[in-house]
């Protein structure tokens, strides 16, 4: 039987959480919710499960619903499990003008999944996103912290190969 590890921030993250809360006036710790959800998502497997959101609610002294309604509003929070590499492909107008839709289709075909899905080995998720302010270097996608710009089939091939070998 697989037991889930306990949901508790590492010492470093806990320190960071404390530091973030000091950025706001006393009693306004709710302001730390968005940054802390980012930390939680990064630390607990790339998505926000209900127990993780309840844990964050507890830290900030909020009602769980206050966390759920925020987590479901913002598109960067994943509410279901995702692959190790989330390919966030821009599909807004300026990227489409430069072939963004075609790049998306190419990635879908290459990985054998549609946008919103995860490969069976749990390695890749494709997610469509709206404008990431990289229109001058379209088409583009974001993977983790990095922007990958001026995408071509060849560049997509190289990137996916690189991620596979990581």
């Amino acid at each position: 039987m697989v037991t889930n590890p306990p949901i508790i921030f590492s010492t470093d993250t806990s320190e960071l959480v404390k530091k973030i809360i000091t950025r706001y006036p006393e009693g306004r710790q709710k302001s730390a919710l968005l940054p802390i959800l980012h930390l939680a998502q990064a630390e607990f497997g790339g998505w926000l499960s209900v127990p993780v959101m309840d844990y964050v609610a507890d830290i900030l002294n909020l009602k769980p619903i206050e966390v759920y309604e925020v987590a479901s509003f913002y598109s960067m929070y994943n509410l279901k499990p995702v692959g190790n590499y989330v390919l966030e492909v821009c599909r807004t107008g300026p990227c489409c003008l430069m072939g963004g839709e075609e790049i998306l289709q190419y990635i879908e075909k290459k990985l054998g999944i549609k946008a919103g899905e995860t490969t069976q080995d749990g390695k890749f998720t494709i997610k469509t996103v709206e404008c990431l302010a990289s229109c001058g270097t379209a088409p583009m996608m974001q993977v983790g912290d990095d922007y990958h710009e001026n995408l071509t089939h060849q560049r997509v091939d190289e990137l996916i190969e690189e991620f596979k070998n990581c």
């Binding site: 968005l34 980012h38 072939g99 839709e101 302010a133």
Partner: protein, 446 residues
Amino acid sequence: MPTKILLKDLHQPGIFSYDGYRKAGGYTSVEKALKSMSPDSVMEEVKTAGLRGRGGAGFPAGLKWSFLDRKSGKPRYLICNADESEPGTFKDRFLMEKIPHLLIEGIIVSSFALGANVAYIYVRGEFKKIIKILENTIEEARTNNLVGKNILGTGYSLEIYVQTGAGAYICGEETGLIESLEGKRGNPRLKPPFPAVVGLYGCPTVVNNVETLAAVPWIINNGGSAYAGIGIGRSTGTKLISACGHINKPGVYEIEMGLPVEEFIYSDEYCGGIRNEKKLKAVVAGGSSVPILPSHLILKTAKGEPRLMSYESLSDGGFVSGTMLGSGGFIVMDEDTCIVRNLWTFTRFYHHESCGQCSPCREGTGWMEKILHRIEHGHGKMHDIDLLVDISKKIEGTTICPLGDAAAWPVASAIRHFRDEFEWHVLEPKECLIRNYGMGKEAVVI
């Protein structure tokens, strides 16, 4: 040489770092303002400069500052809006990536003018690199006694914090941003009260765009009237334009207000003309929310005068034959662009980004997206075109925030100027599919 204000030191070695920035004359406006000027006189210079909000609305920044409630006894806040999400706009990202200290300098001087001791930079969550850059930049400024307690021994104290968003276009709207900064959904607030009176945590707050704040140091160093002397009429100073689409040289350009649009598109100094020697079909001049204009109306006004890159000239002719400068997101389309497909992608964006508070926007953006999908994919009816216009009119002006207008204007203007193309999609549905506008040859129709 064209006048440069924000990007004048872009190519100075080490401009990214504190030392390089300082060597190029950085932070002199902080010394000048904090040591020899009163907060009110800083504000007066910005008013004299005629600096207008660079996020899109174009509201005079000095006037906005003057509305700040200074008598409430509550803390006052400055928020820098770095939630750059308007499709076609990537100028703030460029500025923060290349010359981050310029923004911090602008924030310090502006906070001083407003009497704010805390400033937040609200950065969209996707800008993970920019967030790190800004945090390091603030720390460098702190090490040099430009942020923190008793700045340069003047007795003025300021903390600057970076706040991360999490993927919501609506948080670029100032009250949506404030809600988000309070840890809530980014649902915009009814105005009045305006943030200048009831803003963050119920306290007086000013929200300014990155580019607006970055212009303040130059204004303080050189004087408001020097700034007002640049540009044309009420469009003073310079503007960052992020150019994209079918041009030879996409990128961020600083232009003096009043530059002819034709020069901007065709000069090698800027966009370098349309790529592959194609013809210009249309331009969305100020981010996806502003009305699209066909080539003849973007190059010249309806009166036949050359169209200039300024608030007034771009809006000449109102929505009948004009558009807006907006955020400076300049999207260029060549003769092969399918206007219907492009509009469908824009409308999908607004549907996705509607916060859902107001029914005209929540429902209307979805209806428009569906109808456009239908027309683009060969199932449209002639009356769908009028239906789109009707829906757009019922969204415009009926919502709490301008996202409704922003969704309505592209639809209304595309049909106004390219109605024949919509009709053609209905009459000859296969034609567009065969030509597969805007997509590569291998594209499969979804």
